[in-house]
Amino acid sequence: MSGLLRDLLFDYTLRNVALGSALLGIVSGVLGTFALLRRQGLLGDALAHAALPGICLAFLLTGSKAPIVLLLGAGIAGWVGTMLLLLIVRRTLLSEDAALGIVLSTFFGVGVTLLTFINQRGDANQAGLDKYLFGQAAALVARDVITFAILGGAALLLVLLFSKEFTLLTFDPAFASSLGFGTTRLSILLTSLIVVAVVIGLQTVGVVLMAAMLIGPAAAARQWTNRLAPMIALSALFGATAGVSGALLSFTRQGLPTGPTIVLTLTAIVFGSLLFAPARGLVWDRLRQRHRALSGPMPTPVALVESEGSRP
């Protein structure tokens, strides 16, 4: 254990991986809380997939493989995807989940086409675009972690500044609007911040697993508390815990890839919370039911009829 701690502090690779994963966990935990409460959990999934063609186009246009350039492309593509999503939901009879599926899969298809096109030209490996598909947490370097810290820090600062407005928007948009807080502008800001989280996640856990990073920590945190501020804090904590312990697990065991390990750790936290969280845990529900069934005498049909009859 102390050896592991020493590695965590002094092993260059592990430290970067753990720090990067923790940052991702915190940022996506905080923003995922709002996404979950607005019932937009899967928006992150769509945004992550939609980012791929952006990464490829950014590379094709600039020839640069600098993460910041590629991530900018990812952000822009995620944005275009969101707009298209809104267009489909508002202007056609298709439902929101159909719109999500359409944007997610066709953008990804275009991305795959572009990626293969780049591959065939023979310079994809230098560009290393593939790593955004599955994420390469294990390959995070100090510069990546610094980029994450700046991006994520800015996003968290904005959430802190606008926490009152975001809460209002999430709970009661009509009331927010009647008070003069422009809900369209606020939604756009919030979605943009989710794009930032996705951008960080792409490099760490990859396209497919990003959905879990946004939904998991928040869904787990919701079970432990009935207030928003503690929920956000817990969600960040769960995200960070999953990130660090996933990084440590994959570091100590051969053949455990980092991104999937983070997601599996997170899943364990989610199910643990769903089952055992104090007030909302399903296990306690079941125990209470059984206790009730055992303690009182089973109501016989006659007793049931009587109690029905005696009701005012």
Binding site: Q40, I88, L94, A98, G109, V110, A212
Partner: protein, 368 residues
């Protein structure tokens, strides 16, 4: 069979099989279940291969269907706890399954066919080389046999159970009352979808299956509201996208599966713009016309409301319309022109007077 025939044929078969089921996912608002299932079959597929010591088709199938069943059940169970909503339930389950699959792949088989690219993009390029042989006889590409069988299963499923699918989709309560269990139909649909997803997975990969299931059906939905028409249209769009994608991929030397999906997207985009009723262009055109009609109607109703009061002279001045209704001069002009053309108003030195027909129109509009 050469690749030039085997690849597009496989594409058309995969797309058709997927599109058939997609119709019901779109109508049931369960499109994202296709996303969940197509990702979640990975650990089952891999576990099947592990147990069979190699990429054995049947073992993979069984494992994948089992994994899909676990996923569908888990999503439903999570939703039923009411601790999380439906979207979140999907978003919790499928990444976990996919992560499990990835871990299995890297830990169990660094060397077998299931490399990272195959999981995400499939390998339709190579279907011609993987042939089915019985004894010494070469029966042609295996994928053609598999996908033909899947197509047949789906055609039979949709054909035989149209009534049940339709009823449980549009009125689950009535279906249950008539003795068709919506739950049973749901699980049957999910089962067929999982089997299809497994077959398609090896050809086009996890994410692109989703496109082939949802997008052609969504495109058809933009064009018609009749199920009997929507189903053949969706299959046609799926098949067309497969062929277009194949040609384009050859021309530009890129991923065939990716190009096929891009083609489904392009067809959807065309329908989104040009569909006769739901399309954006038709809608914009209709909105314009409707606006003009409503402007004339508003004018008629306005004059009608103020016809008998003492404010009549003031309210019917053309200049007042701009101030009172807050209309632009252009819009005011349009409304007056429209109402005049319909014979609803007459001009009487600077004032507008409602005709008998105009009065009738106004009464009709506000009566409900």
């Amino acid at each position: 069979m050469s690749s030039e025939i085997a690849v597009p044929l496989t594409g058309v078969l995969v797309a058709s099989a997927c599109a058939l089921l997609g119709n019901f996912l779109i109508l049931r608002r369960m499109a994202m279940m296709a996303d969940a299932i197509s990702h979640a079959i990975l650990p089952g597929l891999v576990a099947g291969y592990v147990l069979a010591h190699g990429p054995n088709l049947l073992a993979g199938f069984l494992g994948a269907v089992l994994a899909a069943a676990i996923t569908v059940t888990a999503v439903q169970a999570l939703e039923r706890t009411r601790r999380v909503d439906g979207g979140a339930a999907i978003g919790i389950v499928f990444p976990a399954m996919f992560a499990l699959g990835t871990v299995l792949v890297t830990s169990q088989f660094a060397d077998v066919h299931l490399d990272a690219d195959a999981i995400l993009f499939g390998n339709i390029e190579f279907v011609a080389f993987d042939t089915l042989t019985i004894g010494e006889r070469d029966l042609g590409p295996r994928s053609i046999w598999v996908m033909s069988a899947l197509c047949l299963i789906n055609v039979l499923f949709v054909g035989l159970f149209t009534k049940e699918l339709k009823l449980t989709t549009f009125d689950a309560g009535l279906a249950a009352a008539l003795g068709f269990s919506p739950v049973l139909v749901h699980y049957a649909l999910m089962l067929v979808l999982s089997v299809t997803a497994v077959g398609a997975f090896s050809a086009v990969g996890a994410v692109l299956v989703v496109a082939l299931v949802i997008v052609p059906a969504a495109t058809a939905y933009l064009l018609t509201e009749r199920l009997a028409l929507m189903i053949p249209l969706s299959v046609a769009f799926g098949a067309a996208a497969a062929l277009i994608g194949y040609r384009a991929a050859i021309a530009w030397d890129t991923s065939i599966a990716g190009a096929m999906v891009s083609a489904t997207g392009a067809l959807f985009g065309l329908a989104l713009l040009g569909a006769p009723r739901q399309g954006l262009i038709a809608r914009a055109w209709r909105t314009r016309r409707q606006r003009a009609t409503i402007a004339s109607q508003m004018l008629a109703v306005h004059l009608f409301n103020h016809e008998s009061g003492p404010e009549r002279d003031e309210e019917s001045r053309v200049a007042h319309l701009r101030e009172g209704l807050r209309w632009s001069p252009q819009r005011t002009g349009l409304a007056i022109a429209g109402a005049t053309r319909r014979g609803w108003v007459d001009r009487d030195n600077g004032r507008l007077v409602l005709t008998a027909r105009g009065r009738q129109a106004a009464e009709q509009v506000v009566a409900r």
